[in-house]
Each structure stands twice: as C-alpha cells, then as structure tokens.
C-alpha cells in the first residue's frame, strides 16, 4: 500500500514537472523542474530496489548533465527573443499526430506483465545488493555492448574536443 502511494506520488510529480518544464517561459525554471523530475525518477528506481541506478541518476543527470545545461543557459546571451517556427503549421494536423502518438503509447501497456521474471528477482537482488548484481551482468553478459557504448561516448568526447578546438583557431 505504502509502495503504491509512493509510486503514485512519484509518477504524478514526474508528469507534472515534465509538463512544467515545457510550459515555463524562463529556461532556468524549466531546467529546475527537470531537476525535480530526475529526483522523482530516482525515487521510482528506489521503489524498484534499484538503488545504484537511483544514485547514478542523481549524480550523473542531476549533478552533471543538468549543471552543464544551466552553465550553457547562463553563458548563452539571450539578447533577442528566440523565434522558432512551428514544426507543423496546421493546428488540427498537430493534434491528430499527438493523439496518434499517445494512442500508440497506450497500446504498449498490455504487453507489460507484472511479477518476478528472469535471473534476478527482487529477493536475489536484495541478497546480492543491486550494485553487485548490475556489475555482474554488465561485465559478463553484456560486456560487449558495454564496451561499445563506452567507445561511442569516447568518440563523442573527442568529437566535442575537435569541434571546440576548431572554433578557437578560427578566432
């Protein structure tokens, strides 16, 4: 019961802050509502006994990624109002597309099945601790995808460096 209440709270706050993040006119407020959103995401992970993920969610997303967003927001000088053309000109078409997307999302729901599954049911994770369980899986079963992901990120880092350097040289 308590768990369900907590889930309900987290879920509603996530939806609410997500909407706020889009609606706020002040970009700093948007970023801050995303921060609250990440917090409740971490709460959801905790409900799922995924404490490692919860901590990483806060450290990486809240502590690093969002701070970087804020950094960029502060640095970019907004002298003129940002004018963006609407992606879809027709209002009706836009409504139709979003309703369609929403429906297709709802259609996925029945494929969720409740209950323990796979090698790591909740009992096992509590016994092993989530960090260990995840470490085992990552570094044995999913070693190759993990390494590939790491490589891709490295490429992104190097790419970023190269781009930043080039701009400096032009100056």
């Amino acid at each position: 019961m308590l768990n369900q209440l907590a889930f309900l709270y987290c879920a509603s706050v996530i939806i609410g802050t997500a909407l706020l993040a889009v609606r706020f006119k002040n970009p700093v407020y948007s970023v801050l509502s995303v921060l609250v959103l990440f917090f409740h995401m971490a709460g959801l992970y905790l409900l799922l006994n995924a404490e490692f993920l919860a901590a990483i969610q806060i450290i990486v997303y809240a502590g690093a990624v969002l701070v970087l967003y804020l950094f960029v927001l502060f640095l970019v000088s907004l002298r003129e109002e940002v004018k963006i053309e609407r992606f879809i000109k027709s209002h009706r078409l836009a409504t139709a597309v979003s309703i369609g997307l929403g429906l297709s999302l709802l259609m996925i729901i029945p494929s969720f099945k409740l209950g323990a599954k796979g090698e790591y049911p909740v009992e096992r994770i509590t016994e092993l601790t989530h960090t260990k369980a995840m470490g085992f899986e990552l570094y044995s079963t999913y070693l190759l995808p993990f390494e590939v992901a790491g490589l891709i990120l490295l490429i992104a880092v190097i790419g970023g460096l190269v781009l930043a350097r080039k701009e400096e040289e032009i100056k």
Binding site: V28, L32, L35, E51, F52, A54, A55, I56, I58, I59, A62, G63, A64, V67, L68, L70, F71, F74, L75, T129, H130, T131
Partner: protein, 321 residues
Amino acid sequence: MQILIILLQIAALLAIVLLHVAYTTYFERKIIGHMQVRMGPMLVGWHGLLQPIADGIKSFFKEDIIPEQADKPLFLAAPIICLVTMLASLAVLPFARGWVLADINIGLLFLFAMSSLASYGIILAGWASNSKYTFLGGMRSMAQVISYEIPMGLSLVGVMMLSGSLNLTEIVTAQGTSIFSIYLFPQIIGFFVFFIAMLAETNRVPFDLPEAETELVSGYLTEYSGMRYAMFFMAEYIGMMVMASIGTVCFLGGWNGPFEIPFFPPFWFILKVYGFLFLFIWIRATLPRYRYDQLMELGWKLLIPLALLNIFLTGLFKVFT
C-alpha cells in the same frame, strides 16, 4: 514506535552536528588567530567560548534583505537547498559500528549525489541574486564542481575496488582494526587526489574561488544577509565535516583505533575528523588562492589522470593477489 526512535535519533544528530558546526567556526577563528599572532575571539564568555552562540543569535535576528532585482523564489530557496542536501548526507555516515541512521548499500554514492546537489544551491544563489559578482561566483562554482566531482569520484573507486562495497560500514570493516591495514597506504595516490578534490569541493582555500573575497567581494554570497547567509555558512561547514568523514571512513579506517574506548565508540572517528578539520584550517592560514584557469588545469590535467592511474594500479594489484 520505531519511527519515533528514528526521529529522535535524527533530532539528536542534527543538534550535535549543528553545535559542532558552531564550534568549528570558533576553533577556526581561534586556530587561525593563534597562527597569525593574534588571539581570535576573546570577549564573549571565557576566551570567547560563547562567540558562536552570539553569532548565531545575531544572524538570526538580522534583517533578511532581498534585492529588488532578485529572482525571489530561487533566491529564497538557494540557501535551503544547500543546507538540506548537506544535512541529508549526514544520514549515511557511520560514526561507529551501528551508529548510523541509514545503513544503505550505496552510502558512498549517496554522499556524492548530495554533494553534487549542494552545488545547485550555490549556482542558483549566484544566478538569482541578479548581481554581477554573485553571478561570476556562481559560474566559477559551477565549473569547479563539474571539474572536481570527477577526480573525487574516481579517487574513491580504488577504495571501492579494495573493499568490494559501497556501504560505508563495510568499507570500514574491510580495512580491519590494525592501523597499518587502513587504505591510506595502498591508496596513497587516491588519498592525495581525494584530499585536493575535497578542498575544492568544499570551496576552501586554496580553491575558494567562488567566494574569493578580494576578487568577487564575496562571490555568490554577496547579496545574502542574516539567517540565509548563516545557512550557507552552516552548509559549508557541514560540507567540510562530511568530506572529512568520507576521508576518515575511506582512508583512515573509520572508528577503528589502536584500542577501544568504552562507552563512546565513535571516539576515534571523531578524532580523525577533527584532524581533517584542523588540516582544512591550517591550509587556510597558509596558502594563497589559485587562479581560475590554474584550478581547471590542476583538476583536468593532474588529478584526473592520477586518479585513473590509481584505478589501474589497484586493478593490477587485485588481479595479481
């Protein structure tokens, strides 16, 4: 009933920690005073012993000024964010065996999470005050946090690898009771990196750029006054204590000492934390301040490679033994 006990424990911990914070400021002033051939506070109480309480009362009753141009909600929230995140990190600190409010499995990560959140308080304070000095201070703080969170985390990876756990109690247990088995010796590189990153995380000299008095007046704190200023102040000192506790737990063997102290098991833990705090204060009295670009250089070019090297060496050590 259990909830009541936990609440009582929380209240007791908060009271003790806040009192400690107050007296850390007193000791800082006293120690720096004596290092600088002066007396420090002397007038309030015997040798100024009541000074922190007088300061507390004063800041509590001072007028709370909010600049007209400030972003009010964020301006009000910033010090609270700072203080709350710092207080929250107290929950997972093991002061002695069993003397911990929440013995969670990811204690170390929780501490990181909280310290990275505390930077939001500083950033928002800098932005919301809508003043040039605070903004520069906030920006400096942001860059500093991003750069120093990484070496700090990496420097502790070695400890995690050796102990095989993120639980702070288990890390202490893994180090054993002997003074020679603490992680300070196998993780000396890690400790070095951790110590420097720790100074930077807590915005202490020589990394006190966000509030560099002679450059940015008072950095992100410039527009704050009264209780809100005191909240930042408390957050900074609690941050110092939390960082000192992490250092004690991860490198100095936590509550273990040469012999057990009956009735008061956290004795050695507290002693080691005091040692760290003394180091903080000593460094403040000795060193000048880094420049912004030098700070970044130190973080990215020295500390991060060193921390990575430390992880590599620890891995080798683990593989071959």
